[in-house]
Amino acid sequence: MQRNGSVLSELFSASQLYHCNKTSPNLLSSLSDNRIRSAHFNNETLIFPPPPSLSNIMDPRRAPRTVSDPKVRKVGFFTDPPDRSLPGPPDHPISSFPTSPPSTVDNSPPSAGNSLSPVMIPPPRHSSSILSRLRRDPAEFFPLPASPTASTSTSFSDDVAWTMKGRGVAAASSSLPGGLLFDIAAIKSAASSVPASGLTTVSAVNNLPIEKGGGVAVEMQDDQSSRSKSLKEKTTKAERRALQEAQRAAKATAKAEDGKTPAAASGAAASVKSGKSLKPPPSQKNDSAALAALEKKAGDRPPEKDRKKEFPQPRMQFDDKSRVEKAKRRAVVKQTEARNRVELFRHLPQYERGTQRTELQSKFFELDPVHPAVYKVGLQYLYGDICGSNARCIAMLQAFQEAIKDYSTPSEKTLARDLTAKIGSYLSFLIECRPLSISMGNAIRFLKNRIAKLPLTLSELEAKATLRSDIDRFINEKIILADKVIVKHAVTKISDGDVLLTYGSPSAVEMVLLHAHELGKQFRVVVVDSRPKLEGQLLLHRLVGKGINCTYTHVNAISYIMHEVTRVFLGASSVLSNGTVYSKVGTACVAMVAHAFRVPVLVCCEAYKFHERVQLDSLCSNELGDPDVISKIHGREDINFLDGSTNSENLQLLNLIYDATPSDYISMIITDYGMVPPTSVPVIVRDYRREHLWI
């Protein structure tokens, strides 16, 4: 609720603002001065309240609880999810997800947050343990901006949310209007979501008085006025009614406060704050307030936001004509739709290949918004020069690094917002070249998160340097280091005399095999390959070049070869939180046959590729490759049966890129957190989200 209020605050005009101060006095207790500060943080015009001393920061929630000044009822305005500054498509869910309401704050003391959740996996024994330690004891590593509170509140709010649900209080919070309105904002910016349901709107009415408290932070709206204006036009009847009702309620309370102008409101807010939390000495006001805000943002907000984000935004459905039209208008590359679209996959993009390449090349000089480095990577995606989710992810991040290096904030814009928009536009360019993989989506989410969390005190140069080093750290820790850890784990599963089977050309598995070979283990590798990419041949080349004994075959012969195999090592594009392994098409076949032959299947996958989405089949979400490569077989000119008939409307060529392997077939997932069964994936996903904030 708290967050919702803050979210709402953005949406309310100043005229409604001043009504809200007196509503819901009981919520006062949940108000923390830190949060207030952070709410103001986004709006630089606000006067910051006196900064708290460190001890105050340590215990931000307790103090306000004792204060009972009615003026401090502006419960709603303490948090603003950092995402708000992202104009690009946010990952927020459309549904109104239960968020942590203020009333339960009393139920769990802040310290409770420090305890590890019972399901938490044991700390890894390897170098990545630094990361997890970071999560638990951030002060040790980030003494400056991140005070221990942040970590406390991280898990704390998380716990709160869970408690909430358990207690059934969620009834009230489950349909929080904040979620709704926030989503509307998301819709506005992303222009790709479904309208919020009427149900949530109704509950918005109930909760309104509280949310209006958030209105104090209206000034934040200034720089987003255009957005919220258009948003207002979009508000539904129910929402307008909600507004009216709220106003009426506010009048009924007969407020003394009548500061109609934002300045007055902020003044009131400031006084309220100082009245409420007397601790912070006025002298350090400005910078420590910023600090507090920063640490608030870093620590408190994200988990809540993540909770919301746990439902990823529905993906673009290409059978929705109006949306496709809209997307087309925005598109940089004009793509012609394939003539014979496969009926089952109308919801996925199916374009003619070939045309986009020439078009992209010819458009190079017109596409000024796209940074050359990004452009290059995009073309590489398009031509298939870079494949494999790790390689693609690293290439993208490095391109963004270049772009950030050359970026300069236009006047009258803030770096955080403008850069996010910029990256959003690069991203849509990349998506047009090839749909993002899940791992890339996760990396983007990280990057946007970092941008949003940039302290405003940093100069542009510093901010850019920070971002670039963040990206470097992501690549190093989440991909390169993670691979090393995976190799270390996986090698223990290889013994002399083993026959290992792998499918395609997974980078992690290749490293495992090479490392095992270096250790002098005697084993044989079966490389299973499939059309159309035949990536296995590349792997085969590299393995044979290192002197590893190999057997090569195609996926159809898998039942033949499986008799002699003792272990199957597979790579993954992503692991979804129901344990499904989303990987190169054919992986499911291999895993299934291995399962049928009682051969253990080990999946090597870095934790950054884990995703909270769930999927049961390979059809709802997938990527379609170039259909023409199906009809033409490379190197087999004798097979040209289909040469004349590809234009026939009865013939459809389907080139699936991914498939989903059910978790039943997976014996073990080897990740940088150690070796876990597929059932533990959701635990890692949740854990990872928290840790993610700290890298």
Binding site: N556, G586, I639, A660
Partner: protein
């Protein structure tokens, strides 16, 4: 190895042997009936003894011819040999016969009748084999309903005719064709289906698992049907059958009765398989340095495995559709008893020993 692969040839040889036995038996019973009328007990005995001798000898002769016949143009040579093989035992037996000439003349007429009957029966068999596609296809409408989604892998004339017959009967359905690497017969099938106006989607073999959840039925042709109800099929179909089982999709095998093999499979993946050239999978030019035996270890670093067939165990097969109707895998042994005589398996073994 080579001999084992062409199971259908062996099947036909056995069928013909079976036909000869049957015809001979029916003639003999007719003769016995005639002799019974004259009530000559010793003649009856003699006849019996001769029949035994005749059977053994003719079986040996046919087996000898079958040995030659095991090479591809076998059916032809077998049929040409047939009268001789029947004639040989006759002359030998007549030479050793101590009975009078009247008996011998009677026998030669009997032999002619036997020849005639056998030729007739073999012609019938040929006819059966030629028309088995149509007979199987006739049943298509009973198995394919409107808007069905069918998956198949590789190419088979039986499957093509089957699907086309359903299309002829105004059923509309779509077909997913897995290409069937490395021979890519699926491309051929897809082309045929498209020219005949069926909605066809060509997929890679690896996409089978992804697609099968939306498929109502898997229909495939078989290379051979074993006595236990298992099938030898083009490579890749075991994977399809497993996926079909996982998604509870019926796995239907179309097979003419000439594909019915009276053998029980033992290690069929190896013994009833054929390994084809690696050139279908790998470009020799690219990997020539790894494939040779000249490396220091003495064995090549790289092996390429390219089997031609898969074995699908009976528990993965939902239904056989043959020219005699639909059958459960567990019923196959019964069909075999109908088509083959148990002695022929022994004959086969004798041939093996003789070799």
């Amino acid at each position: 190895m080579r001999r084992n692969i062409k199971l259908a040839v062996g099947n036909i040889v056995r069928r013909v042997l079976h036909i000869i036995r049957e015809e001979d038996l029916s003639l003999t019973t007719a003769a016995i009936a005639g002799l019974n009328l004259s009530a000559a007990s010793d003649g009856d005995d003699d006849d019996d003894g001769e029949q035994d001798e005749h059977t053994v000898l003719s079986a040996a002769a046919v087996a000898a011819s079958a040995r030659n016949a095991l090479r591809p143009p076998s059916l032809q040579t077998l049929l040409e040999d047939m009268p001789e093989s029947v004639a040989i035992p006759h002359t030998s037996s007549s030479g050793g016969d101590s009975e009078g000439k009247s008996k011998s003349a009677d026998k030669s007429s009997r032999t002619r009748r036997l020849k005639h009957d056998v030729i007739e029966a073999v012609n019938e068999l040929i006819q059966d084999i030629n028309t088995c596609h149509e007979q199987i296809a006739e049943q298509a409408v009973e198995h394919i309903h409107q808007n069905e989604v069918i998956l198949t892998l590789g190419s088979s004339k039986t499957v093509l005719e089957f699907l086309y017959a359903a299309k002829e009967k105004k059923r509309s359905f779509r077909v997913f064709v897995a290409e069937g690497a490395p021979r890519y017969q699926g491309h051929l099938l897809a082309k045929e289906l498209v020219t005949r106006g069926l909605h066809t989607t060509l997929i890679t073999d690896s996409a089978v698992f992804a697609i099968i959840s939306r498929v109502n039925m898997v229909i495939v042709g078989a290379h051979a049907v074993m006595a236990n109800g298992g099938v030898i099929v083009p490579v890749g179909l075991n994977m399809v059958a497993l996926a079909a089982q996982k998604h509870a999709v019926p796995f239907v095998v179309l097979a003419g009765s000439h594909k019915l093999c009276p053998l029980y499979p033992h290690n069929p993946e190896v013994l009833l398989n054929e390994l084809r050239s690696p050139s279908e999978l790998l470009d020799f030019g690219e990997f020539s340095d790894c494939l040779d035996f000249g490396s220091s270890i003495g064995s090549p670093l790289l092996h390429v495995v390219n089997p031609a067939f898969d074995y699908v165990p009976p528990k993965l097969v939902s239904l056989f559709i043959t020219d005699t109707g639909g059958h459960n895998p567990s019923y196959m042994y019964r069909l075999i008893a109908d088509y083959y005589s148990a002695d022929d398996l022994v004959v086969r073994r004798r041939v093996a020993l003789g070799n």
